[in-house]
């Protein structure tokens, strides 16, 4: 009970601190602070905020269009047509989820940056242009990159819907004379609409709040989004003070917007149920024969994989071994060496980052599991009214942008805990925020697994004399093991590659490996950043394979 309430308590306190500080100015956290609306006034009169808002909207729309444009057709092809090797599509798309957005962002910077991008350099060379035709550092360019990286998610979200759709509805349309496109337009798409809309909202929410892609591509070029604007206000450089009041005010507004969108999302999902598209278990939809078009479908998938994953990874590998960035050429290949890794890299820093990251990977998933298990057990099994509160509480961090949670955590450490509990700049603070951000995913996965375990299995243990703890340990944990394992590994991978919260919270001592990449990247040492990324990938690969191994056995793979 205490364990279950803990994450919720932390979230409520964080949001409370954020709201309270958004109304303070002066020296916050002391008696000199006074209550005022000036933070909100300053925020709305800041000329950059308008631009950031505009950029964010363009960015989110582009990201959504690209991700749905790629993910939705692949989902339909995989679930409803005779395309071949479907399990390979699932394998590729799940791996796609695991490859961090910063990889795609770095790769596409190398490829399409206005000045250094290889495509632009080649275009200038071949067509004698005065400047590069493509600029990735625009809201649309960044939206494209973000969309590539979110396409895997769009695929997962919509594939489930196509799988559950009752094919007799489409067959009825065919029998009554509608052709393929008629059926598609009049029956399939309208039926799928609520689920598609829900996926769109889900992705827009991520798009609005996402930090890593806008930070990697946009910050150096001074193209701001809301999330990177928050970062600039919180870390304005040496000559200025952090404007915590303004970041808090923006955070409060973002929480409002995110909650509104999340509420809309759940409303749309509920409306989707009224169509009764979902049928009973073990239902196999009839497949649409696409014949040779299956090859074209695979070509589409392969182009996506190359653009989103393969090229970025290859370019990062290339950049890691060359001294400066230039398009591949005989000269560049002759300059390739291990210097970045052996000589130029600050191994003290990398080791510190690696040590902290390993520490986080060991602590955070385990803590997340224990807390999420307690929350789930209470939500699914208890009859107390508290379960509704817990359900909402477990859902809340999902709705709150990570950027905002990170800001709230800084404010909390700086102005509330201060010296009593010195958390600022510690790994503990990062760990707390990580656990909070992972808990809704973990809770949901464990909820659905727990719902499948018949309550009488536990009751049989109680009646035959086993205590609550022993029942959990001997009955529930073994039955939930596949789910618990895949949640553990999934959280471990997400913690390992996490950049958003880390960028806000790290200092000299508690830096994480992704934050090392970020600091090299931000200081312009892109080749060193690529080299560290390469090292990080080498460590990540076994983890991903482990996930793959357990994922196959777990309920999550269904």
């Amino acid at each position: 009970m205490v364990l279950a309430a803990l994450p919720m308590f932390v979230i409520v306190v964080l949001v409370g601190v954020l709201i309270s500080i958004s109304f303070q100015s002066g020296i916050i956290g002391t008696s000199d602070a006074h209550f005022t609306l000036s933070n909100y006034v300053d925020l709305f009169t800041d000329p950059i905020i308008g631009e950031a808002l505009y950029n964010t909207i363009i960015f989110a729309i582009t990201a959504t269009l690209v991700s749905m444009g790629v993910g939705l057709p692949i989902a339909w092809l995989t679930e409803r047509t005779t395309m071949r090797a479907k399990s390979a599509v699932y394998a590729i798309m799940t791996l796609g989820l695991l490859i961090p957005g910063i990889y795609t962002a770095m790769g596409w910077t190398f490829l399409a940056h206005a000045r250094i991008g290889f495509l632009n350099r080649w275009a200038i060379q071949f067509f004698s242009l005065s400047e590069g035709p493509i600029n990735i550092a625009t809201p649309i360019g960044m939206g494209f990159v973000q969309g590539l990286s979110l396409a895997a998610l769009a695929f997962i979200l919509t594939a489930q819907m196509f799988r559950a759709m009752n094919p007799s509805l489409e067959e009825a349309a065919k029998i009554h004379g509608l052709g393929f496109f008629g059926t598609m337009r009049r029956v399939t798409l309208p039926l799928a609409m609520p689920a598609i809309l829900a996926a769109v909202i889900y992705i827009v929410v991520i798009g609005i709040a996402t930090f890593d892609v806008p930070a990697i591509i946009g910050l150096a070029n001074r193209v701001y989004m809301i999330s990177t604007y928050v970062f600039e206000k919180a870390n304005p450089g040496d000559e200025e003070f952090s404007q915590h009041g303004i970041t808090a005010a923006l955070g409060v507004i973002m929480i409002g917007v995110a909650l509104l969108l999340t509420w809309w999302y759940s409303t749309v999902l509920r409306q989707g149920d009224k169509y009764q598209v979902v049928t009973g278990k073990g239902y196999r939809p009839t497949l649409i024969d696409i014949g040779h078009w299956g090859k074209a479908a695979w070509a589409f998938i392969i182009v996506y994989i190359i653009a989103a994953k393969v090229i970025p990874l290859i370019l990062i590998g290339y950049a890691a071994f060359v001294p400066y960035l230039a398009p591949p050429s005989a000269k560049m290949f002759s300059l390739m060496s291990m210097d970045n890794i052996m000589e130029n890299m600050d191994w003290d820093l990398v080791f510190r980052g690696l040590k902290n990251t390993v520490l986080l990977v060991l602590i955070v998933p385990a803590a997340t599991l224990v807390l999420a298990f307690s929350v789930s057990w209470l939500i699914v099994r208890s009859r107390s009214k508290a379960r509704y509160v817990l359900e909402f509480g477990a859902f809340l961090p999902h709705a709150l942008p990570e950027v905002i949670l990170a800001v709230a955590a800084i404010l909390m450490a700086l102005f509330v805990l201060k010296d009593f509990v010195p958390l600022y700049g510690t790994v503990t603070l990062i760990a707390i925020v990580y656990v909070i951000t992972r808990i809704s995913f973990a809770t949901r996965a464990i909820n659905s697994a727990l719902l499948q375990i018949h309550k009488e299995l536990e009751e049989a243990a109680h009646v035959s004399g086993l205590s609550e703890i022993r029942t959990s340990w001997r009955i529930l944990v073994p039955l939930l093991r596949p789910t618990l394992m895949s949640v553990w590994i999934w959280s471990a991978i997400l913690v390992y590659r996490e950049l958003t919260v880390a960028v806000f919270l790290v200092g000299h001592e508690n830096i994480t490996l992704p934050a090392v990449i970020w600091s090299y990247w931000q200081s312009g040492a892109t080749n060193l950043a690529a080299a560290v990324t390469l090292i990080m990938t080498l460590v990540l690969t076994p983890l991903v394979l482990l996930f793959w191994w357990f994922g196959r056995k777990s309920v999550m793979s269904n």
């Binding site: 049989a460 243990a461 035959s464 004399g465 086993l466 009955i475």
Partner: protein, 370 residues
């Protein structure tokens, strides 16, 4: 052995509160096979789970062998794991990640009853022998058939040597033929162990076949409890009478020793009723065809025969007299005297109930359904 006093429990539902247990008082004797029967939603499972400790009643008390396991005044609550009962669940609740042996052994090893480790093996084997599962002892429980899983659940429940054995519809997931076979075995097993059994089912035939005593529940209330034959022959209200079999209902007026109805007079051997307005109830199997010719006397009726149907082991038929229809069942074909059916009913088989609100409401609803 088990004494339940003034037990109450309410559930909150969307439109208010529903009493799942409404002031229940039950006394179960040691070694008795006690069956709780009722339609779904009658509260029978809630009662069983309250005894098990899986459900907390609101008020009242439950005592088992002079130990109070629940009471609200003074407040007493013994958790399920400390009550030391055996229980067989409707889903069997055989732990799927354990083998047959481990399923039976886990409660012995890790339960509150603290069985010495050296005894565990012997007791597991003994329990599995009793349910004839010794051949499957090391099989994973997921590879068992439904009937075998049911026996694992039974072995697990009896392995702890419980004085009280609780069973929640243990036969409902078995197919019909197996059910009849297993219910006899369960009764024999319980009698051999000398355990007191509390057994829940919705099936009145199963209840009558297996019980020493039956308690019939409806909407949280205990309607009647007693030996099966008492509930069948001496039902205390129309609802009990009809639960254990179809009844022909006739409204009538008490006049001295007889009840006057539209189709004739009836007299019953036992009648404690003094109300003027009554209901006469006659079961279909109690309609007989006497040899002698019809003469107007109580319990004799002349009717038209309709819908006589041969069903192999029996005939069903309808006798119609002045707008009333009597449903009948007989081994022999209905025998006509001339073109009429002469029906007689033994006074022992005539049931008379007061036409009070609850009986009348129930009978009218039941007749509207047919």
């Amino acid at each position: 052995m088990i004494s339940i006093n003034h037990l109450m429990k309410e559930f909150t539902v969307t439109d208010g509160k529903v009493a799942a247990l409404n002031d229940l008082n039950i006394e179960v004797d040691p070694g008795e096979f006690f069956v709780i029967v009722g339609a779904s939603g009658s509260g029978k499972t809630t009662l069983l789970r309250s005894v098990a400790g899986l459900e907390t009643p609101d008020t009242g008390s439950i005592k088992v062998e002079d130990r109070t396991v629940f009471s609200n005044e003074p407040s007493v609550w013994v958790p399920a794991q400390e009550r030391g009962f055996g229980m067989v669940f409707q889903s069997y609740a055989v732990w799927p990640h354990l083998t047959v042996y481990e399923n039976v052994a886990l409660p012995l090893r890790e339960g509150e009853q603290k069985i010495p480790g050296s005894e565990v093996d012997g007791r597991v084997k003994q329990a599995l022998e009793m349910v004839q599962l010794e051949e499957q002892i090391h099989r994973p429980s997921t590879l068992l058939s439904g009937g075998q899983q049911q026996r694992v659940a039974l072995a697990r429940a009896i392995a702890v040597n419980p004085n009280v054995l609780l069973m929640d519809e243990p036969l409902s997931n078995l197919d019909a033929r197996l059910r009849e076979e297993v219910r006899g075995k369960i009764r024999d097993l319980a009698k051999n162990l000398g355990a007191t059994v509390l057994y829940v089912t919705h099936d009145q035939i199963e209840a009558m076949a297996i019980a020493d005593k039956i308690a019939l529940m409806s909407f949280g209330k205990l309607l009647q409890y007693g030996a099966p034959i008492d509930l069948y022959r001496n039902s205390n209200c129309a609802e009990v009478a009809e639960f254990f079999g179809t009844v022909n209902w006739l409204p009538g007026e008490l006049d001295g020793d007889v009840v006057k109805t539209k189709i004739g007079d009836f007299s019953a051997s036992q009648k404690a009723i003094t109300d003027k307005n009554v209901w006469v109830g006659i079961r279909p199997e109690h309609l007989a065809f006497p040899e002698e010719s019809f003469s107007s006397q109580p319990n004799h009726i002349l009717a038209d025969l309709r819908n006589s149907i041969f069903l192999g082991d029996q005939y069903t038929f309808e006798g119609s007299a002045s707008d009333s229809t009597l449903h009948g069942k007989s081994r022999a074909a209905p025998k006509l005297q001339g073109d009429k059916l002469h029906i007689a009913v033994d006074p022992d088989d005539v049931m008379i109930f007061s036409a009070d609100d609850s009986n009348t409401t129930f009978i009218n609803a039941s007749m509207a359904d047919n």
